[in-house]
């Protein structure tokens, strides 16, 4: 399928990132398989601690010690920025030296990241401009004046009011929403082909969140980049994503396009996630307050590793002797819809 290969941007195969702690080994990412295409928005959903962020950190090789990539491949299809050729060079990110020049050339240049906390994402003692300009100077080898011009332009693109003034402001002089705009400008200033957004709106209020989501979608059209959107908020996923990967305990348990995930979820965990979303109209129509449907049980403790399917202790469709014995394989019950569950394979 040469045509499909043309559009492939990222392929993660069997990624395992473990943390070796004194208390035991945390299998933060335990066999993740993902595919992303150019200009696609892939939503990654899951509860806290399911390995969403660590997967993203693994891609940029920013996993903090004692975390370590134990196995797997992260293939990035890198197309030269100068447009000399459309032929993508395949780089296996897991093989790069995490402090080496090769990964540093990819960071911020080909793959950028926007983090959860806009309040702490910038150093308080350097100006917004200084912190954006240094990435432009680093990757585009331009003069300070040119970098400043580009920075102001980029701040205007993220709809920052008065960019000529903001560029010399310090982060603590900006509001949360403004700061997240500045952080997005910082991530996009070198026009990456992939933007990883790790819960970028979780710390913002709802109206600001809507503005930032709109902004990201517009910028995606404008720059033609792919977005990996990490969140626990299904509403945001419905709004943003083309395709969705659902993660549970370090694994991708289901992946499909966004409408399939919402209208025809197959994995009991995905189904459970849907039922846990509070519905405003249900809540108002009910006379007495009914408890929300929640997935029973808790995420198992991170040091243990369950035999069979990791979801089996909480699963309503648990099959004794199968689910707690054999780890399910990834199956494709319908084209483009993969799921890791014994019910389907």
């Amino acid at each position: 399928m040469p045509e499909q290969d043309q559009n492939l941007l990222l392929e993660i195969k069997g990624l395992r990132t473990y943390f070796h702690l004194a208390e035991g080994v945390v299998h933060a990412v335990d066999g993740v398989d993902l595919k992303m295409h150019r200009k696609e928005t892939l939503g990654i959903v899951g509860e806290s601690g399911c390995g969403k962020s660590i997967s993203a950190y693994s891609m940029l090789r920013l996993v903090p010690p004692p975390g370590k990539i134990e196995a797997g491949e992260i293939l990035f299809y890198k197309t030269p920025k100068d447009g000399s050729t459309n032929q993508a060079e395949i780089v296996n990110l897991t093989k790069l030296d995490p402090n080496g020049s090769e990964i540093r050339n990819i960071r911020g240049n080909y793959i950028s990241m926007v983090f959860q906390e806009p309040m702490t994402a910038m150093s308080p003692v350097r100006t917004v401009g200084q912190q954006i300009m240094e990435a432009i100077i680093l990757h585009q080898k331009v003069s300070k004046e040119e970098a400043r011009k580009q920075t102001i332009e980029m701040l205007r693109r993220v709809r920052m009011s008065n960019p000529e003034r903001v560029i010399d402001d310090y982060p603590f002089q900006l509001s949360g929403g403004m700061r997240q705009r500045a952080v997005i400008a910082m991530a996009l200033c070198c026009r990456p082909s992939l933007l990883i957004a790790d819960e970028p709106t979780t710390a913002l209020d709802v109206t600001t969140e809507a503005q930032i989501l709109n902004l990201m979608r517009d910028l995606q059209d404008e720059f033609g980049m792919a977005i990996m959107y990490i969140t626990h908020n299904l509403g945001v996923i419905a709004e943003m994503a083309d395709n969705v990967a659902v993660m549970y305990m370090g694994r991708v348990v289901e992946q499909a396009d966004v409408s399939t995930i919402f209208y025809n979820p197959l994995h009991p965990y995905t189904q459970g996630l849907h039922q846990s979303i509070p519905q405003l109209k249900d809540a108002l129509s009910r006379k007495e307050h009914k408890r929300l449907d929640v997935i029973k049980g808790m995420v198992p403790d991170p040091y243990s590793r369950l035999k069979g399917c990791p979801f089996h202790p909480r699963c309503p469709k648990f099959i004794a002797g199968v689910c707690d014995e054999v780890e399910p394989r990834m199956v494709e019950p319908e084209p483009g819809h993969t799921v890791k569950c014994h019910l389907y394979g």
């Binding site: 402090n99 960071r107 990241m113």
Partner: protein
């Protein structure tokens, strides 16, 4: 900004007056004064003292007047003429003996400070980045020894070692034959040969302290999100460290700059006595032993003045490197 500096300088005036009052009162607190001290000593050696002579000296020095009057006379002379009075112990004007000694002490303190910063800052950053490594444990061990060992003990040990094993006589500021020689290149070299020991001894405690401080603040900063963000931009690890966590972790070091200098200044007294240096510390000690209040008072007032200036410089430096200080405190 200019207003702020002027305000701070103005505020130093009452500060200095309070320091001078306290200095004067504390020095006067022990019973007796310089004259009674001297008379006692003369009597102890079997000499008789003429009462009329004592009365004459008491009148001459104004020792019969109340403390407040003595203070006012003293402080007026300092402010109007820059005259710190007469040193009975050294039988000379205080200004004359204090100038060169203060200069020497200041020079040694400054060198100790330079050694301290240029060693503590890189090492502090290194041990934080390499937390729980062999390097970290090595410097932590060394640091605690440095913190716990009193300077004078270190001085004695180093003097013994350099004399016993290297045949060097390291006491004093100059070799015997150079003491009275006029300043020349040879004398300067001789001076440097003597000065390294007190400088290192003085610097060790402060260095150990600074390494611990910097290590702690660096560890706090290294965990912050903006460090990961900086790495995600593709900056090299060295640039990430210098532009991000170090820029903030350096704050407590800069803000204690003023005290550090004064700490070297006054903390060196015992070391200077042990090493037999002709500096301000031993002078203060002799002055206090003989209740020579003008000499001791001059020393304390000058050190107080340096402390005030030092903390002003610290605050200005801090405002220069940290915009939060600039925007938060000064303009409000």
């Amino acid at each position: 900004m200019v207003n702020y500096i002027l305000l701070r300088l103005l505020r130093m005036i009452p500060q200095m007056l309070i320091i001078s009052v306290l200095a004067f009162v504390i020095i006067q607190l022990p019973p007796g004064d310089f004259l009674t001290e001297r008379i006692n000593r003369l009597k102890a050696t079997g000499l008789t003292v003429d009462n009329a002579e004592v009365e004459r000296l008491t009148k001459m020095y104004g020792l019969d007047q109340p403390m407040a009057a003595q203070y006012i006379k003293w402080i007026t002379n300092i402010i109007t003429k820059g005259d710190f009075g007469y040193s009975w112990t050294f039988a000379r004007d205080v200004n004359e003996i204090i100038g060169s000694r203060m200069g020497m002490t200041f020079f040694i303190s400054f060198l100790a400070f330079v050694v301290c910063w240029s060693f503590a800052i890189p090492v502090g950053i290194l041990v934080a980045v390499k937390q729980y490594s062999v390097i970290d444990y090595f410097f932590t061990f060394l640091g605690f020894i440095g913190l716990a060992t009193p300077g004078f003990l270190l001085a004695l040990v180093l003097m013994y070692v350099s004399f016993e094993y290297f045949g060097l006589k390291v006491g004093g500021l100059f070799s015997q034959e150079m003491i009275l020689a006029p300043w020349s290149w040879a004398k300067f070299v001789d001076f440097l040969k003597h000065i390294w020991l007190p400088v290192i001894i003085l610097a060790i405690g402060g260095t150990a302290n600074l390494i611990r401080t910097l290590r702690a603040t660096m560890l706090d900063e290294l965990r912050k999100q903006y460090v990961t963000v900086a790495r995600a931009k593709g900056l090299s690890e060295f640039k990430v460290l210098m532009l991000y966590p170090v820029r903030i972790a350096i704050n407590p070091i800069v803000s204690t700059f003023g005290w550090l200098l004064v700490w070297f200044f006054s903390g060196g007294t015992v070391v200077e006595i042990v090493l037999n240096l002709d500096t301000a510390g031993p002078m203060l000690w002799r002055a206090l032993m003989t209740q020579d209040m003008y000499t001791a008072g001059a020393y304390i007032v000058i050190v107080g003045f340096l402390t005030a200036i030092g903390s002003l410089i610290s605050d200005l430096l801090l405002a220069a490197i940290d915009p939060r200080v600039r925007f938060g405190g000064l303009e409000a």
